[in-house]
């Protein structure tokens, strides 16, 4: 496999990341490598999509589509970019399409719902009082509203920067724009978030 990787990347190029190696094995028909990729990135992709569309069912549906596309593309896969760049490019593309197709309306509805259907993990471990829970929920809703109010590309950039800890160059590749455009997106997004959330300090 190492020979294969070196041949594909070419002399002098940076070595492939482990994920790209796994993907090349998937291309060779190794189903276990696809399972390894799924194990490694499932949570990150679902969480990114959840924060983008803010609906669990829609996020999982989109995440399934992401991994399905990865699997379907195995025959034509070429490690021209970092695997996660490719993965998040697919995820971002699907999320932006879903938001433009009107699924964001479901998102806004969801934000107005009560906390009854919120997952247990979102409540802090220390058993809170009803009042504390309500305060926490209010705070959480405010954060979610602030993020949901960001323009789609700014939102994607912030989520990749904050939660995936991606560098500007990688975000630029995912969003198919320049690094300076990413800096500008993030500057405007954080400016909006500071105006809305700074009082929560």
């Amino acid at each position: 496999m190492n020979e294969r990787v070196n041949r594909d990347v070419g002399a002098g190029a940076t070595p492939l990341d482990l994920d790209a190696e796994l993907m090349l094995r998937v291309k060779d028909g190794d189903g276990a490598s696809f399972g390894a990729l799924l194990d490694k990135h499932r949570m990150a992709v679902v969480h990114f999509l959840y924060r983008m569309v803010q609906n669990r069912a829609v996020a999982e549906e989109l995440a399934q589509e992401v991994f399905l596309r990865v699997y379907r593309s195995r025959e034509t896969y070429e490690p021209t970019a970092k695997f996660t760049t490719w993965l998040f490019r697919i995820a971002t593309h699907l999320a932006l399409n879903a938001l433009r197709d009107g699924k964001h309306e479901r998102v806004l509805e969801r934000l107005d719902e009560t906390s009854a259907d919120m997952p247990a993990r979102q409540v802090p471990d220390v058993r809170p009082s009803v009042e504390q829970s309500l305060v926490y929920q209010d705070k959480l809703d405010e954060v979610r509203r602030a993020v949901a109010a960001l323009p789609e590309k700014q939102r994607a950039a912030v989520l990749m920067h904050k939660y995936q800890e991606m560098e500007y160059t990688q975000i630029a590749k995912v969003l198919n724009c320049s690094e300076s455009a990413v800096k500008s997106l993030l500057f405007r997004a954080y400016e909006t978030l500071r105006a809305r959330l700074a009082h929560m300090a």
Binding site: V46, V143, R144, R194, M200
Partner: protein, 163 residues
């Protein structure tokens, strides 16, 4: 140092707010932020944003996520791949297409060989004879007969001169 707010180097302040700068860069900014009200305000507000975003935990992934995914993958897999699945562990996946290709080449070779031993087409003359109609044959015989009659006086004259 120059104020990042004045030089619009917000990415430096963002990195500083999220404590991502290395020790040397951080200590440079530490002193500046302490004395610059604009930068201090930026950093405090940005840290509040980080903390607020940190509080937003994502939902856990459904337990049956993988099962549903593999079900969808299975629906799209071709009959050939499904048939090959039991042999994957034996490395048959690579061998079978090669064997199939070899089979096709072998078949093509056999067909070519068979074509080469096929008898050649009959000579053109024979074909022309076969295609002659009875009228044409009769006409040809008449012509031969006329020619033989023409040649008779020549032969007779020749015989006379020899005598």
């Amino acid at each position: 140092m120059k104020c990042p707010m004045e030089t619009r180097e917000n990415d430096v302040l963002l990195a500083y707010s999220s404590r991502k700068l290395d020790a040397a860069e951080r200590s440079l900014l530490d002193g500046h932020v302490e004395n610059c009200a604009a930068c201090r305000e930026f950093v405090q507000a940005q840290r509040a944003v980080w903390d607020a975003l940190d509080a937003w935990e994502a939902v856990p992934v459904s337990m049956d996520f993988d099962r549903r995914l593999y079900q969808r993958i299975d629906q799209q897999v071709s009959w050939f791949e499904r048939a090959m699945r039991p042999f994957e562990s034996l490395g048959f996946r690579r061998v079978v297409p090669i064997a199939a290709s070899a089979g096709v080449v072998l078949m093509a070779g056999l067909l070519l060989q068979r074509t080469s031993v096929t008898p050649l087409a009959p000579p053109r003359d024979t074909a022309q004879m076969e295609s002659l109609q009875p009228e044409q044959l009769e006409h040809a015989l008449d012509e031969m007969d006329a020619l033989s009659q023409l040649s008779r006086p020549v032969r007779a004259g020749k015989a006379d001169s020899e005598m």
